[in-house]
């Protein structure tokens, strides 16, 4: 981390920031007032299902042994809630489409232009994803409502989209760390005087741009009008950011180093993911956002895990037979690697102090999910969910919850997560798929 924080620069206003006494500026400062620690939520995604036999823990709710795949999460076992036995309900497209579209929305897909495999062409989901519902309910005064980060997410289509602000409004993940650095952290490396001028100018421009969207929208038919109105909403969101307060104080907040990693080469996949986790952690530390997602590749991911000596494409592997020991071994390694990444994310959050004391992880909930339960059948029964941390809420961790044979959908889990994070909704997603908050999650 570069030793210049946003507050350092702000304290030395007027373009002379760098010349001001560094040592004093860089002293960690206690927060002057004990603010309520902000709650945070992260979704992590990995693709193509797992191997349920190598994923599912054994034992009871409070006394359980982690499966081979989940072993890397061992150091955090008391922070985990592992949920098994739910059906990740979905509909409207093919298995992968329903999976990634319904995974976080609990909604079916509209008809639309995306060709599926052996299914009618599907569109976007009919409702928002759970993280976006949380962001809307929290309404945090952060510059970014949420951050969608990705690692080599590939083509811009429905297989590569999991976050939805609302029905038909996918939020594409950024998969270039430099772009995240330039966009999200730009305020931290801009001189405050210049920043103030830039903000005033952008405000005028965006006001005028917004005026034109309103003007033209009024001249269009309803479907086209919706499209422009969604664009206008995006413009308004940037305007809101221009007035966000930059004086939040967390000594752990620092301008990150400018990333220098090849964002798209297969073999740099782990390195890109590492940088993204650094940026995500720092975005939380600087309170740039409180809701984030990390999308590893995409549904139907063909990443080749060469660093594990696996030259095959992941999706190809995921379709091989359960009795193919080579494939089973490789898929176990791949999913174990993803568990390591979740552990690494937890580790970063746990080693970063939060503004009000404690660590970022104390007030964060991480959800790891997958668009399928099992790759070679496209089944979404017993889809894998791992929650880490309670986001500063009432969720009791250190538990393994199995709902095997109860015929429950994952909508109940998503609703339970909302409740656990202080969002008092009573249903989530497709109403018919949700019978209430998941029994036993809270209580």
């Amino acid at each position: 981390m570069k030793p210049i924080s946003r507050r350092t620069i702000l304290r030395g206003a007027g373009g002379a920031a760098i010349a001001l006494p560094f040592l004093e500026a860089m002293q960690p400062r206690k927060k002057a007032h004990a603010a309520t620690a902000p709650q945070r939520f992260v979704v992590m995604f990995s693709a193509n299902g797992t191997l349920p036999t190598a994923w599912t823990p054994t034992g009871t709710e409070t006394s359980f042994t982690l499966s081979p795949i989940l072993t890397p999460l061992g150091p955090y076992q008391s922070d985990l809630v592992i949920v098994q036995g739910l059906l990740q309900e979905g509909g409207g497209g093919d298995g992968h489409q329903n999976g990634i579209g319904g995974m976080l929305t609990g909604c079916p897909l509209n008809p639309g232009p995306f060709a599926g495999v052996g299914a009618p062409p599907a569109g976007w989901p009919t409702g928002p994803s759970v993280d976006q519902r949380i962001a809307a309910a929290w309404g945090a005064p952060t510059p970014y409502r949420s951050l969608e980060l990705g690692v080599q997410v590939g083509a811009a289509d429905d297989y590569g989209r999991m976050i939805y602000q609302a029905a038909n409004q996918p939020l594409p993940p950024i998969d270039d760390p430099v772009e995240v650095y330039d966009t999200v952290f730009s305020d931290l490396h801009t001189d405050p005087t210049v920043l103030a001028q830039q903000r005033a100018r952008h405000k005028s421009i965006l006001d005028a741009v917004g005026g034109e969207y309103t003007r033209i929208s009024g001249q269009l038919g309803s479907a086209d009008k919706q499209r422009l109105d969604a664009h206008l909403q995006a413009v308004r969101e940037i305007e809101t950011r221009l007035t966000a307060d930059l004086t939040e104080n967390n000594a752990a907040c620092a301008d990150p180093n400018e990333p220098s990693v090849d964002a798209q080469s297969n073999d740099s996949y782990p390195a890109v993911g590492g940088v993204m986790m650094d940026l995500l952690t720092m975005a939380f530390a600087c309170d740039l956002t409180r809701v984030a997602s990390l999308q590893w590749s995409r549904s139907v991911s063909q990443v080749r895990f060469t660093w594990l000596d696996i030259p095959d494409g992941h999706h190809d592997l995921s379709h091989r037979s359960d009795s193919d020991s080579d494939a089973v071994s490789k898929l176990t390694q791949i999913n174990t690697w993803y568990a390591q990444q979740m552990a690494a994310l937890i580790g970063r959050l746990q080693s970063t102090p939060d503004a009000g004391g404690g660590t970022l992880f104390d007030n964060t909930m991480v959800l790891w999910t997958n668009e399928l339960a099992k790759g070679n059948t496209h089944s979404r029964q017993d889809a894998p969910y791992v929650i880490a941390g309670n986001g500063g809420g009432p969720l009791v961790t250190g538990r393994y919850l199995s709902y095997e044979g109860q015929g429950l959908n994952h909508n109940n889990l998503l609703l339970g997560i909302l409740n656990a994070l202080g969002v008092p909704d009573t249903t989530f997603g497709e109403a018919d798929w949700c019978t209430g908050p998941l029994t036993g999650l809270l209580s």
Binding site: P172, E179, R201, N266
Partner: protein
């Protein structure tokens, strides 16, 4: 990422045999009305593709077109990047528009010759009448039409609010705003009587984006203002002018690369332990080869037959060595003749072969499926959603045909795979690396197969035997026209008017003297291109 954008998998097959695999869309009606004016399809609001955005910005401001790379990639559906219904905008996307617009404005304002050319005077001095002229002139080009009084007033107000410390600040704020407005980023068309002719500006905009991938140039805008586009002759004169431009060739290459799915070759890789000649340089070279094949086709007469069968390609010494061909005479990429018993146009391009294969083996499924879905427009029908079939274990040491034997042995699989695999087997002489091979798993390659359920059924032996059948197929001609229709109109075919248009387009593609150029020329004469769409519901 390897393979095509959709995982057409062995395991997706289930119960097709029991349900039957009927043929799907892509058929044309026999309606012969030349302009297809009745029952036209909708015209959803289109946004500039990233490519069109970069090119238009470059034309307007002198900025490098690659600035568009700051935008998220366009959503791709039906293999095309310009399908209106797939587009969405996030806040970060809107922010990228802001940043790029500012960059373009700075570039333009740094070039006084260009600002003066727009205004007819130097607006950076702050003279209000000159500022007004500049905004009006730049706005006309950026928005592809004259600004209304209200629009002009709003921009003058913005100038007044932002022209500090100097006039250049105000001008660049106005330029940046004009370049983020929906009048620039989208292509809004007037909402008035359905079936009426588009006004000259809207028609000029459709024409320019279709043929040049950019906003109309000055000549075309003037033609629109003079009412020239309202006549058949005037419209065709502008069409022919733009078709002769190098940009039209680039647009054709772009369209064909998306239709043939070859544009994704640069993002695939092969198992380099098995395919040692595949290096970082291979995929870009294969992309270059296909691009040159298509450009040459466009220039020399882009018939469907040429695309499907021509035994020619382009290679430099290095690529020729990769293929095991003699080095071409001359430096750089040269046109070379290939063995007509082996090569057949796009169907044997290395890029196509490599995209439609796995990293470590060929894929008769992907190759056969491409022919069904992209050349016949009859992808296999949906299976029952609840049925899944776990895949069998296969021995990777067996030749391809034996590894895929389950597809015909198991009736659950056979229903669909007999439509795909036997076509794909005809490509077996080409490995997943796109290189000719005589053996597969130490056995002589067997490239026999069959084509069924089409208007050109029969036995196959090698790609040329398939290519000559495809070239004679009315169904393939209709499908090629369908693909073009989707690309040109940015949507799927939906109404009888659409099917009528596709039928007429297919006629100009494969009728006497027909080719893709003639089909493009026919497109702009269609009612659906020249008229307003049916009104969308309020």
């Amino acid at each position: 990422m390897s393979g095509s954008k959709r995982p057409w998998l062995a395991t997706s097959c289930a119960l097709f045999g029991l349900l039957g695999c009927g043929s799907g869309g892509g058929k044309t009606t026999t309606n012969s009305a030349p302009l297809c004016a009745s029952d036209p399809g909708p015209a959803p609001l289109r946004r500039l593709t990233r490519f069109e955005y970069g090119r238009s910005l470059a034309d307007l401001t002198g900025v490098d077109p690659s600035v568009s790379q700051a935008l998220p990639p366009d959503e791709e559906t039906m293999d095309f990047d310009d399908i209106a219904d797939a587009y969405s905008v996030s806040a970060l996307h809107a922010e990228a528009y802001l940043e790029v617009a500012e960059q373009a404005a700075t570039t333009l304002l740094g070039n006084s010759a260009q600002t003066t050319a727009f205004a007819g005077c130097d607006p950076t001095g702050g003279d209000m009448s000159c500022v007004t002229s500049f905004i009006s002139a730049f706005g006309r080009r950026a928005w592809r039409r004259a600004m209304t009084n209200d629009e002009q007033t709003a921009m003058m107000q913005l100038y007044a609010d932002t022209a500090t410390p100097g006039p250049t600040d105000g001008l660049s704020a106005v330029v940046a705003t004009l370049l983020q407005a929906p009048q620039f980023l989208y292509r809004p068309e007037p909402l008035a009587g359905a079936g009426q002719a588009l006004d000259g500006y809207a028609l000029a905009t459709r024409l320019a984006f279709l043929l040049t991938g950019a906003a109309p140039d000055e000549t075309l805008l003037e033609a629109a203002e003079h009412g020239d586009l309202g006549t058949e002759n005037g419209l065709l004169a502008q069409t022919d002018r733009l078709l002769a431009d190098g940009r039209a060739a680039e647009l054709f290459v772009h369209f064909a690369n998306e239709w043939w799915e070859t544009e994704s070759v640069t993002s695939i890789d092969k198992n380099r332990a098995l395919y040692r000649d595949w290096t970082d340089a291979t995929a870009p070279a294969l992309a270059q080869e296909t691009s040159m094949f298509l450009t040459d086709a466009w220039q020399s007469g882009p018939t469907l037959t040429h695309l499907l069968t021509a035994p020619v390609t382009f290679a430099d010494a290095s690529l020729a060595a990769y293929y095991g061909l003699p080095a071409p005479s001359g430096d750089g990429y040269q046109k070379i003749a290939l063995d007509p018993t082996r090569a057949a146009g796009m169907l044997t391009q290395g890029a196509w072969m490599a995209v439609h294969a796995k990293a470590d083996q060929t894929s008769p499924v992907l190759r056969g499926l491409f022919v069904r879905a992209q050349l016949f427009c009859t992808p296999p029908p949906p299976p029952p959603p609840s049925i899944v079939v776990a895949p069998p274990v296969v021995d990777p040491r067996l030749p391809t045909r034996q590894r895929f034997a389950q597809h015909t042995a198991n009736p659950l699989c056979a229903g669909c795979h007999t439509l795909m695999d036997p076509i794909g087997f005809a490509f077996e002489s080409y490995g997943p690396d796109g290189v000719w091979r005589d053996t597969d798993a130490d056995q002589p390659v067997d490239a026999t197969g069959s084509l069924t359920g089409t208007d050109v059924d029969g036995d196959l032996d090698g790609v040329p035997s398939l290519a000559s059948k495809l070239a004679g197929s009315a169904e393939v001609a209709s499908c090629a026209a369908t693909q073009w229709f989707r690309y040109a109109f940015g949507r799927s075919e939906q109404t009888s008017g659409d099917l009528c248009a596709i039928s007429a387009l297919a006629g100009t593609l494969t009728g006497p003297g027909g080719d893709f150029k003639k089909m493009v020329r026919q497109t702009v004469q269609m009612a659906e291109f020249r008229n307003l769409p049916p009104e969308s519901s309020p």
